[in-house]
Subunit: 167 residues, 2 copies
């Protein structure tokens, strides 16, 4: 099954960006590479990746749905959208957005893995990766690696109770 | 110099407790021990440790200052209080409180080290370790260890620019 991977860099106090959207506090040390991660995915939700070769979906309440400028705008709940996407062949789906988007995905319980890079800085305020307001979600730690300049990279997998499913 | 160590376990979304104060989601695996940490400290701020042999200070706006029931209530800003405490002989000072207490200590920039245990669960809402509203504080990663059941234990040291000081 294609997995939805919420993957982002955050400050030690859990922000993906400053209040004004700046991400100057994030960094990528020389010994860290996103290559292995990129090799596992071919879809993204959110962000501006109009130049990339991946298919990009942008969740938006203000933009009308449809494909324009290299991205596909989406205005529906995560669950039905992801269910459709999972049925199409492809690799994993990168959910590249925190805040309300992450919360909506967690509410719908469609986040399968977390790839989180934590930089060693408290920025004091900003846009949280995990804003409050979703039900409890358990995970299992898959990987914990330390990189230079104090970056740590964590991978978690959602541990759902086995659903009753007809095979 | 005696260091102030902010040391707490948190959920993956940064909470030290649920909204009602429950910490049922936290756990301490068998291969993890707080012994080495306890050996480095002899003071605490916050929490209920009336049975311990450590000297305990409780920051409170509602209780009048003074020693009662095995603890010493404090009603002043962190900085002058910690400056006095640092002048007394002793080991490190454990700041065992998140939320407003941690924010006040970070505002006054008297937090020297962070010892953070992260359990692999998103609880969705609760009492944050680092509530917003303090200036940016840079740290260096000292240690990153993985324990069973997905607990990771992180140690950071504050990296302040060298102060102009008279020696």
């Amino acid at each position: 099954m294609r997995k939805v991977v919420l993957g982002l860099g955050i400050s030690l106090d859990g922000y993906i960006a400053r209040a004004d959207g700046a991400v100057d506090f994030l960094f990528m040390p020389k010994d860290y590479s996103m290559g292995p991660f990129f090799a596992t995915i071919d879809k993204m939700g959110g962000g501006d990746f109009s130049g990339s070769k991946m298919k990009n979906y942008v969740f938006s309440h203000s933009q009308s749905p449809g494909e324009r400028g290299g991205v596909t705008f989406v205005n529906e709940s995560p669950k039905p959208f992801i269910e459709k996407l999972r049925k199409q062949p492809g690799k994993n789906i990168w959910l590249m957005g925190g805040g309300e988007l992450a919360r909506d995905f967690l509410k719908d319980d469609v986040v399968d893995e977390l790839y989180i890079g934590i930089v060693p800085i408290l920025i004091g305020e900003g846009r949280p990766l995990f804003p409050s307001g979703f039900p409890q979600r358990e995970f299992a730690l898959l990987e914990n690696k330390t990189f230079s300049k104090g970056l740590i990279a964590l991978k978690y997998a959602r541990t759902r109770k086995k659903p009753k499913r007809k095979v």
